[in-house]
Amino acid sequence: MTVTNESPAARQALNRRGGNAVGDRLFSWWTLGTGLLVLAILGLILITTVREAWPAFDAMGLRFLTERIWDPNPAAGDAIFGALSFAYGTAISSLIALLFAVPVSVGIALFLTELAPRRLRGAAVTVIDLLAAVPSVVFGLWGILVVAPALVPVYQWMHDVLGGVPVLGRLFGPVGSGRNFMTAGLILAIMVTPIITSITREVFSTVPRADKDAALALGATRWEMIRGAVFPHSFGGVVGAVMLGLGRAMGETIAVALVIGGATNITANLFAPGNSMAAVIVQQFGESTGTFTAALIGLGVVLFAMTVLINVFAQMVVRRAEARMKGSVA
C-alpha cells in the first residue's frame, strides 16, 4: 500500500508546475493555518488555566506540588491545597492500566495481523472498536456495581497469600470496599485496550511484506520473524499508541471518580482507596468557590504539564530506540 518510489505518472504530474499555482498556495496556507490553530488553542488553554489557577499557586507556592494534604475547609487556619496525593493516584492508576493493557493489546494486534484467519479479522476488529465506543460512565457504573464487589474476595485472597512477603507484600495490603487504585487501574486497562490495539494493529500492518518474507526465508520461526522484522519496524508506532492510551488513562474522569475510592491517600497498598486529579476536579468543582476553584483548575494545569512531559520523554525514547533498532532495516 505504501508508495515508496514516485511512479512515472506522478513524476509527470509533479513536474507540471504553474498550472495550478493558486490551488497550491491556498492549500499550503490552509494546512499552515490549521497547524497553527492547534498550537494557538493549546497556548490559550495553558494561559487561561494558569491565570485562573494563579490565586492557588500564589497562596501555596511550590507546596502545591509537594504537599499531600488537601483540606479546603480546615478546622483552623488557611485552606491547604496539595496536588501530590492526586498526582500519585493518577500516576499509579494509569501505570496499572498500562501494565495490563499493553501486553494484551500488542497480543491482540499481533494475532490479528499475523495469525488470525482472514474471516475472523473483520469481526474481531469490530468488536474491539465497539469497546472503545462504550461511554466511560458505563464503565464506571459497571465498576462499582459489578467489578469492585466481585473483586473483593480476589483481593482478599491475594492479600492473604502475598501480604506476608517482605517488600512485595506492601503492595497487597488490607482490602476495604473494593474501590481502590487496583480496580481503577483494571477498569482503565479495559478502556485503553481498544485504542492501543487499533493503533498497534495499523502499525504492524505497515511492516513491508518483503521484510517478513526475508526473515522467514532465512529460516526464522514466526516468533523470530515478529521479533526481528515486525517489532523493530514498528517500535515508534507502538510507543505512540501506548502514549495515546496513557493520555486517555490519565485524563479519564468519571470512571475513575466512581471506582478509585475518593480518599486523599499516598500508599504502596494497591488495595487502598485513593483519588486522581481529573476525578477530584469533577467531584469538587460544583461546590467550590474562590481559591478552592483556583486550586482545582491548578490540578488541571498539573495534569496538563504531566501529560506534556511524558510525551516529550516518550518522543526522546522513540528517537533513541529507532536510531538503534532501525539502523539495519532502513
Partner: protein, 367 residues
C-alpha cells in the same frame, strides 16, 4: 500524541459530567414516577386554579439534595399552570449561587447560606426555606439491627479514632447489644456537598470538641476512609461493605434498604431519623430575621438532631414584573400544595409557623 488531545480531554470532562448528571436525572425521574403513581394526580384540579393565568418560563439551578422534591413540585405545578415552564437543574449549591449571582437563573436552590465569595450581593436576595430532610447515619453490620450513637462517639467513628465496632465507646451507647469486632469502614461523599457540610457542622456543634476535622462542603477525611459519588454512591459503599458506616439522606438510605442508627439529641434522647423527628427539629430551631435557620442539634425531646435545611434564594426585586409574578406564583404553590408532596418522597415539610413566615417572605418580592 496529538496536540488536540487536551482539547479533547476538556470536552470529555464536560461530557462525562453531563452524562453523570443525565444518569442521576434519569434515576430521579424513575423514583419520581414511582411516587407519583400513588400520589396526587397532577392537573387534577384543572384550569380554574389561582395559577392558571400565569405564563412564561422560569430557570433555576442549585442544590442537588432537594432536587427530587423540586422536580415533583415542578411536575405538579405544570398541572396547575399549564402556561409556565419551570426547569430546575441540580448543579450543586455552589454552582447554583454562582449562576444566580451572574443572572443566569431566576432563582437558585442552596443548602448552605450565601457567603461573600459566592458572588451574590448582600441585600439583593431573600431566603425562602422550602423543606428539610434528615441525614441518616447508615451502617452495615450483620446481626445488629438497632444501633444508638452519641455525637461524641459519632465524631470519633468518622475521624477513625474508633476502629472496630466492639469499641468501648460504642458499647457504652448500646447497653446489652452484642457488637462484633468487625473493623469500621467510614464512607463519605467524594464530591463537594451540602450534606457533608451539614453533617460536619453537626459534629462540630454537638460533639463537645471531639470533632477535629472542621466543617464544609469538602473536608480532609483520613486516608483510610472511602469516598462515594453523591448520596447513592455512599449508600452503595455501605450496602456492599461489611462494617461500613456513612451519612446518607433518608430517601436514598431507604431506597437502598440500609439500616440507620438512632442519634442522641440535645435533650439526651436517642431518636431515629424520621420525618416527624425532622419537623420537630425545625420547630426547635432558632429562626433568624432573614429566615435563615439552623436545625442542626435542635432542642426538643423528639427532635432528630442531624437535619439538613434547604433554601431557595430569590432576588429582592426583579426588573421584569411578569418574572416576579411567576416566581411568586411558583413559590406560593411550593409552600402550600407543594408541601403535601414532600412526605411521599421522604422530605420533611416546614412546621406551620415557619411556613407562614416563608409565605410572608415571598410577598416581599418586588418588581
Amino acid at each position: 500524541m496529538h496536540p488536540d488531545r487536551e482539547a479533547y480531554l476538556v470536552n470529555r470532562n464536560v461530557l462525562s459530567r453531563r452524562l453523570l448528571a443525565g444518569v442521576a436525572l434519569a434515576a430521579l425521574a424513575l423514583t419520581g414516577c414511582g411516587s407519583n403513581d400513588n400520589g396526587k394526580e397532577p392537573g387534577a384540579s384543572g384550569g380554574d386554579s389561582a395559577y392558571a393565568n400565569l405564563s412564561g418560563e422560569l430557570k433555576a439551578s442549585g442544590a442537588s439534595f432537594p432536587d427530587a422534591y423540586y422536580q415533583e413540585v415542578v411536575e405538579a405545578f405544570k398541572g396547575e399552570a399549564s402556561g409556565v415552564t419551570v426547569t430546575y437543574n441540580a448543579t450543586g449549591s455552589g454552582t447554583g449561587k454562582k449562576q444566580f449571582g451572574e443572572g443566569l437563573v431566576d432563582f437558585a436552590g442552596t443548602d448552605s447560606l450565601v457567603k461573600e465569595s459566592d458572588g451574590v450581593a448582600v441585600g439583593s436576595f431573600l431566603y425562602i426555606p422550602t423543606v428539610a430532610a434528615p441525614i441518616t447515619v447508615s451502617y452495615n453490620l450483620q446481626g445488629v439491627d438497632k444501633l444508638q450513637l452519641s455525637p461524641e462517639t459519632l465524631a470519633k467513628i468518622f475521624q477513625t479514632d474508633i476502629k472496630t465496632w466492639n469499641d468501648e465507646a460504642i458499647k457504652a451507647d448500646n447497653p446489652g447489644v452484642e457488637l462484633p469486632d468487625t473493623p469500621i469502614v467510614v464512607a463519605h461523599r467524594s464530591d463537594g456537598s451540602g450534606t457533608t457540610s451539614n453533617f460536619t457542622k453537626y459534629l462540630e456543634a454537638a460533639s463537645g470538641g471531639a470533632w477535629k476535622l472542621g466543617s464544609g462542603d469538602t473536608v480532609a477525611w483520613p486516608a483510610s476512609t472511602q469516598g462515594g459519588e453523591k448520596n447513592t454512591g455512599v449508600a452503595q459503599i455501605v450496602q456492599q461493605t461489611s462494617g461500613a458506616v456513612g451519612y446518607v439522606d433518608l430517601s436514598d438510605a431507604k431506597a437502598t434498604g440500609l439500616k440507620f442508627a438512632a442519634i442522641k439529641n440535645k435533650d439526651g434522647q436517642f431518636v431515629e431519623p424520621t420525618l416527624d423527628g425532622t419537623t420537630a427539629g425545625l420547630e426547635g430551631a432558632e429562626i433568624a430575621d432573614d429566615l435563615s435557620y439552623n436545625p442542626l442539634n435542635a432542642a426538643g425531646a423528639t427532635s432528630y438532631p442531624i437535619t439538613a435545611p434547604t433554601f431557595i434564594i430569590v432576588k429582592t426585586s426583579y426588573s421584569d414584573a411578569a418574572k416576579a409574578e411567576l416566581v411568586k406564583g411558583f413559590l406560593t404553590y411550593l409552600l402550600n400544595d407543594g408541601q403535601d408532596l414532600a412526605k411521599e418522597i421522604d422530605f420533611a415539610p416546614l412546621p406551620a409557623s415557619l411556613k407562614e413566615k416563608a409565605l410572608a417572605q415571598v410577598d416581599k418580592i418586588q418588581s
